[in-house]
């Protein structure tokens, strides 16, 4: 872990840290990595990754639209909208 890697991570996380925070974060992440790096010492051959603790999953069998009008619920929204559109600073088309 170093400030260069941290900078990349911040970009991917959409976070901006100031210099003090940066320094502290490098130290903290180093400590965390030092701790979890012990996993590399273990042989896990023959073990499939476990992603879900239960072997159960539901699907929705009914392809019917719901009747709840969500926009009525969202009346309380605090974010600025214009003519029903959400608004953000101009995004230069990628």
């Amino acid at each position: 872990m170093n400030s260069k890697i941290l900078k990349e991570l911040c970009a991917r996380c959409a976070l901006a840290l100031n210099d003090t925070e940066n320094e502290r974060m490098v130290a903290d992440l180093t400590l965390i990595l030092d701790y979890v790096d012990q996993i590399h010492a273990v042989t896990t051959d023959g073990f499939e990754p476990l992603i879900h603790p239960l072997n159960i999953g539901n699907v929705r069998e009914l392809d019917e639209p719901e009747t709840t009008r969500h926009q009525d619920l969202i009346q309380m929204k605090s974010i600025e909208t214009v003519e029903d559109f959400y608004v953000v600073p101009k995004v230069i088309k990628p």
Binding site: H52, V59, D63, E64, E66, H70, Q71, V82, Y86, V87
Partner: protein, 502 residues
């Protein structure tokens, strides 16, 4: 950069070969979205009115898979004879973009629902080319960013967010822009045929990206690939590929190398523009979505779908040639759309004249649809109506023109043909005396034109026939009119020569 002459192009074509693969996004026409119970594809909804708390990624909300979307995906997989996964698994693909509500897209990365299928491209001569399908997977669509509505802001509409998409990725088996366009056109036809997609290109129901590289003809190696984005019509796909191939030829011919990058097609200029180099491409941090446990896809489920599948276009096409004796190009055109194929087969059986049925459908029926409802592909004439019409024209009850006109009259109605004929008095008139009388009147009124007619100005006959038809209010049998006119004109000629003899 465009090449000036065909000669240049031929030279290029003899030296270079394009290698093209497509990534096609098909919006599935399920009633609800992929992971929420919001109505899907509600194009009439005001902005953000068709976006639920789940679609807007409200804190605490969770996705639940719409099984119909899964069924659709398996159906497509079966149609391309692909191998269907044993479980349905979803991954998260992370990136920040304002129209992506969760900060990740739920997609399938490690376990596409279908892998290694084959899609047979047909041309009008009935020849097929096998295009291998690398993978087909389910994912959710993002919302829409609208950049040109406000001067300093981008506005967002999340109605589209969560729409189920089927992403179809071909192997790079295509070699020319028109082959690629044919591939897209036939994929488009297939998903509509299977009932998976509205097919409405204007609404973005099918969207396409293309990967293209060049290599020396005869080489087995692949060149550096550029990805072209936003090729959302058959025309744009073809144009963009043409431009891009020319661009890459120019780069390579100049001794430089093609950069691996993502490019966007700009329909206005007809060119492709670099978006970002490949190295800078985002890292998506894929990982299995913990909110969506794996859903087993049992053999029973798959075989149930397979048995309920409609007959595929190529099977139908074969039958039209073998059983009904159609030419391959007619069979091809009739099987681009399931309703056309169904109308043909039913009509052919009723009127017992497959060739006429094919002609009428590919001619008049398609023409009237294009004229009256260019937006919807619906066929609104029944096989019974059409077969009756064909029979009445064949037995001379109706003139060909009246028959054609009647397709329009029957369109989108449940009217009975014989009723219309009776009530509107449009039976064709084949009474020779009546026709002779009208013809004589027209010849009389146009004496000054007779010499020209005699000089062999055949086109004038059309005029004369038209005049007779007008007198008959369109009901005279045009074939008999022509006969009558010829007789009269000939008589006139004799008369004239007799005068000269005097």
């Amino acid at each position: 950069m465009a090449f000036a002459t065909t000669q240049d192009m031929n030279e290029v074509a003899s030296k270079w070969e394009a290698v093209i693969g497509l990534e096609v996004h098909v919006q599935l026409n399920t009633r609800t979205k992929l992971f929420s119970r919001t109505r899907n594809g509600d194009v009439s909804a005001a902005p953000n009115q068709s976006a639920s708390l789940v679609d807007l990624a409200y804190p605490g909300t969770l996705p639940v898979l719409n099984q119909t979307a899964l069924t659709h995906a398996v159906k497509f997989g079966a149609a391309i004879d692909g191998s269907i996964a044993k479980v349905c698994l979803f991954d998260r693909k992370h990136y920040f973009y304002p129209d992506l509500p969760k900060g990740y897209q739920i997609s399938q990365y490690s376990h596409p629902i279908v892998s290694s299928g084959v899609f047979n491209l047909w041309n009008e001569n009935g020849q097929a080319k096998a295009v291998r399908i690398r993978r087909v997977h389910l994912e959710e669509d993002a919302g829409k960013s609208i950049h040109d509505r406000l001067p300093n802001e981008t506005v967002l509409d999340f109605n589209r967010a969560g729409t189920p998409l089927l992403e179809i990725v071909t192997e790079p088996d295509l070699r020319t822009p028109s082959e690629a366009a044919t591939c897209l056109r036939q994929l488009h036809a297939l998903v509509i045929w299977l009932g998976l997609c509205s097919g409405n290109l204007n609404e973005g129901a099918i969207r396409c990206d293309a990967n293209v590289s060049l290599r020396h003809r005869g080489s087995n190696r692949y060149g550096t690939v550029c990805e072209l984005k936003n090729l959302n019509s058959f025309k744009f796909l073809k144009r963009a590929l043409r431009y891009e191939i020319e661009r890459q030829v120019a780069v390579l011919s100049g001794g430089a190398s093609v950069q691996r990058e993502t490019r966007s097609y700009d329909p206005a200029s007809g060119s492709t523009i670099s978006l970002r180099p490949k190295e800078q491409q985002e890292e998506y941090r894929y990982f299995p979505d913990p909110d969506l446990p794996p859903i087993p896809i049992s053999d029973e489920f798959t075989s149930q779908i397979k048995t309920s599948m409609p007959e595929l276009p190529e099977t139908v096409r074969d039958r039209f040639v073998k059983v009904y004796g159609l030419a391959t190009d007619q069979a091809y055109r009739l099987t681009l759309e399931k309703p056309l194929a169904e109308l043909f087969e039913a009509t052919a059986k009723l009127c017992k004249d497959p060739q006429l049925a094919a002609n009428w459908i590919l001619g008049e029926v398609i023409a009237i649809r294009k004229r009256t409802q260019p937006q919807t592909p619906k066929i609104t004439i029944t096989a019974t109506q059409l077969a009756q019409l064909i029979e009445r024209v064949k037995d001379g009850t109706l003139s060909l023109n009246t028959g054609k006109e009647l397709v329009g009259r029957l369109w989108a109605t449940d009217l009975d043909l014989d009723e219309i004929v009776k009530t509107h008095d449009i039976t064709q008139i084949s009474d020779r005396d009546q026709i002779s009388e009208w013809s004589a009147k027209v010849v009389d009124e146009n004496q000054e034109l007779i010499p020209k007619l005699l000089d062999g100005e055949e086109k004038l006959y059309e005029y004369f026939i038209g005049q007779v038809m007008r007198l008959s209010r369109g009901k005279a049998n045009p074939h008999l009119v022509r006969q009558a006119l010829e007789r009269l004109v000939l008589a006139d000629e004799k008369h004239c020569s007799n005068e000269n003899d005097d």
